[in-house]
Symmetry: C2
Subunit: 512 residues, 2 copies
């Protein structure tokens, strides 16, 4: 009887520490949701004269979040939970993520956070001017400062094994420089060979089809129709317009996406919408048990990106997909603009592969090269192997080797991306990991649900969503990204799936 | 030299206590703005499945606000400030309002707040059902509970001189039962005489003009055009659609209004929009010095209502106003629906006076009677002179005496308003005070700017706005409502201005 009582007491104390952890971090999650609403409203609704007031509100919420997270109380609860054994997968993931968040916030001194916040505002402005004038010297001193600050962050966090790995881990938990390098080293030469083949083809798609004039309102309506069909549930989300497309989550029952329409470029609106829809379906798919908790979040940036890119590229740019949608697009939306364009031509146009300068406009084949370039340079920057002043020349040299075209101005080169101006080193690789995860997971999906391509021909997306809900979405942040991929596919990340997918898709398109 | 130093030190300590007060209450104001965004988004954008998550976020913000406001730190700062002499008008108003807010929050025990919150949810539901079935017995027990809770609140606050006065003061600072009673006692018989004259007229407006079918999209566009012309500045605000029209402020540079359109009732959309615009212009007009502070708020509910009703009724339902807008409305929006309607008929229709059951649908003449009825009954309820069970019979008896029509069901009587179900006793009188303030202030405006009616004929609203900015808006909550009206008009509130306005306007309309 006594033994039973003790066991019961232990059980109770486990429950209460875990319960407290769950509750405190759910409250913290709500702070983040409120911040997310402030952010969403800023981009979708804010009157032009109100940015200052809004920015004060955003800072206030961040301050409150920070104060709560670093409080002694939270530290104690986490330590209590870490003493517990026999936690189930979800609870132990909760403790792991709580520790992660807490340490990241506690280890970095407030002065450093403030210094980064201040510097990044200046740095962002300098970057904008530098990009506009294509003049690196305007950005150089502040970039140097941001680099030093990020190195300081990496030193303080010290999750290792190297400084750059520490920074990568902020975005892709568990990923290291060496691991990603081994993946990219395998991928890079094979990918370059494929690109070489494609660009040497004599039978190329006619990209200009997409740059005709497409009425923005019709584009918007079409994107709403497609997104709805993909099972974006407007009971638990919204779609709006904004200058930059994005997805944001305001609670586990409220995920919102935005769409940017370009009148003279058809791809922007529709593929942007499908991309964000992929992100949103992930956020909408967490199982009830983890709703609004610290685990109601993507496993990593890379896994998140795998969901958006699977929808955008693997599904959304497939022939099966458009064999359903193209007749609708043509007859209900753009009778005139597409009068002379057949499905096959359209499908080839949206899959044009072309080495180009700007990462965000890159096709899904050359995209990874843009990332590998940044990954290599970021590593050398953070590990102190190159000076800030050398970045443009190193960028340009590497770029020409990889893409076969020379960079004529830095705004087409190292000045194109916003990331470094905000200190986001280690973020880029997650984009490419997303593509690789997507191909590997999708390969598994096809094995388990071979009828998927037939579904798309009928405009049906229930089976793919069910697969993703079951294997990816429901788990939220319970599993670390590498573990999740292994759990799903019984294999560590393997770039061959991506390479196979690329070959199978693009060789026929390029008549190879 | 020494004396100078001491003075300087005193000055410094004044500055620092006041500065702290200002900063702390500006931060508290930001909590409220964030809450306001949560509320606005709930009514304008929220996906139907997300109410629960949103309500948790709203409670969180309220909790944080409460915890900060009742903190020892805030109490000390206020006490420090209260010791200071020689404060200027703004600073001493800031101290007065801080004390008011602080005391209200501190004096009412948390358990009572929780009890009210819980009860009012149940009470609201019971009221809805009772109203739907027109069955008072469903609402009676919870109404009784709410009454007792509000009496407890009044006892705890004890700002006096009577319980009901204490509750009134929550909405209309400085107003007492006796003062309002003396105003209403003067107003009531005179108003009833006017109504009698109007309803006895043989030449009545044709109200049915307004209940034709008016395309909602066109109504919306028209309301946007009018509101813009009234100088609602979309650099510092927005107009959206919602189920219930309202105004909300998300910072001193972001005030938003909403419009409800009814296809079969033209007045709803346009006059609702003008009404909310009147509220918004007030909120947008606080002087920079008090932006985002505790004083960036209306002087009272009554003064706020005076601004909305001045725009809606005195300006927006005037012949001068429509002599500009009616041709536009007819030619650009409703050519067909208004084909056979002349300006004069339209103007008479929008100014139909008709004793009726429902307060929110009442015209500007009979409106005050609805309020006086509630004021008299509320007083007797809170002062314990009548039991809950007696309310319907007392209501119906009083109503028939005042309006000359008998109440056949309680849903047309005491069950029509939501206020009591939430415990808002003392709120109603502010609506009527709003009408009276509006007439008195507008009388002054006309004396100082006699060209106003000519402005409206030209669709110009710069002079009236400049007058209101100068005399009302800029001051925010610096002056208490009665003081503000005295300051502007050199006279205490005097209902004769309203009665004169009513006679001058409605006798001609009713051919008297």
């Amino acid at each position: 009887m006594l033994e039973f009582k003790i066991k019961k007491n232990i059980r109770t104390s486990i429950m209460s520490a875990i319960k407290q952890l769950r509750e405190e971090f759910t409250e913290l999650r709500r702070y983040q949701y409120i911040s997310a609403l402030l952010g969403w409203d800023t981009q979708v609704n804010l009157p032009p004269g109100s940015y200052e007031g809004r920015s004060e509100q955003a800072s206030l919420m961040e301050k409150l979040y920070h104060e709560k997270l670093v409080s002694e109380k939270i530290g104690k609860i986490i330590s209590e939970c870490e003493k517990l054994n026999d936690l189930d997968t979800t609870d132990s993931a909760m403790v792991r993520e709580a520790r992660r968040k807490y340490d990241r916030e506690v280890k970095i001194p407030t002065e450093l956070v403030t210094e980064i916040a201040k510097t990044s505002v200046l740095s962002h402005k300098a970057w904008e001017r530098a990009k506009e004038k294509s003049d690196f010297s305007i950005f150089e001193p502040l970039l140097g400062k941001m680099i030093n600050l990020e190195i300081e962050v990496a030193n303080k966090l010290d999750t290792g094994p190297t400084l750059y790995s520490t920074l990568i881990d902020l975005f892709e938990p568990g990923a290291t420089y060496n691991w990603i390098k081994s993946v990219f080293d395998d991928l890079k030469p094979k990918l370059m060979k494929i690109i070489d083949k494609l660009t040497s083809s004599d039978d190329k798609p006619d990209f200009s089809i997409l740059t005709r004039k497409y009425d923005p309102e019709k584009q918007w309506n079409f994107s709403v129709e497609v997104v709805k069909k993909l099972q974006f549930d407007t009971n638990f989300g919204r779609q709006d317009k904004s200058v930059h497309p994005f997805t944001t989550t305001l609670s586990s029952t409220d995920t919102r996406i935005t769409t940017r329409i370009k009148e003279n470029f058809f791809s922007s609106g529709i593929f942007g919408s499908i991309h964000e829809c992929g992100h949103a379906l992930y956020e909408m798919g967490y199982k009830k048990e983890i709703h609004d908790t610290i685990l109601a979040d993507g496993a990593s940036m890379g896994i998140h990106e795998s969901q958006s890119r699977m929808y955008e590229n693997i599904i959304g740019r497939s022939k099966d997909f458009w064999s359903y949608w193209y007749p609708i697009l043509k007859s209900n939306y753009f009778k005139d603009a597409l009068r002379d364009v057949k499905l096959d031509e359209f499908h080839r146009a949206i899959n044009t592969v072309q080495p180009s300068y700007i990462r965000v406009d890159a096709d899904e084949v050359t995209y990874a090269l843009h990332i590998i370039l940044r990954f290599e340079i970021e590593h050398d920057i953070i590990e102190g192997k190159i000076n800030t002043s050398e970045i443009p020349s190193i960028w340009n040299e590497k770029f020409e080797k990889m893409f076969g075209i020379p960079i004529m101005k830095d705004s087409d080169g190292m000045l194109q991306d916003v990331h470094w101006s905000g200190g986001a080193f280690g973020y880029f690789p997650t984009y490419a990991l997303g593509n690789l995860y997507a191909a590997q997971i999708y390969n598994d999906a096809l094995k388990k649900k071979p009828s998927l391509p037939v579904d798309y021909k009928k405009g049906e997306y229930g089976n793919i969503l069910a697969y993703l809900r079951e294997n990816v979405h429901q788990h939220g942040r319970i599993y670390q990204p590498r573990d999740l991929v292994k759990k799903i596919t019984n294999e560590d990340l393997n770039p061959d799936y991506f390479l196979e997918y690329i070959k199978n898709k693009f060789y026929p398109i390029y008549r190879i």
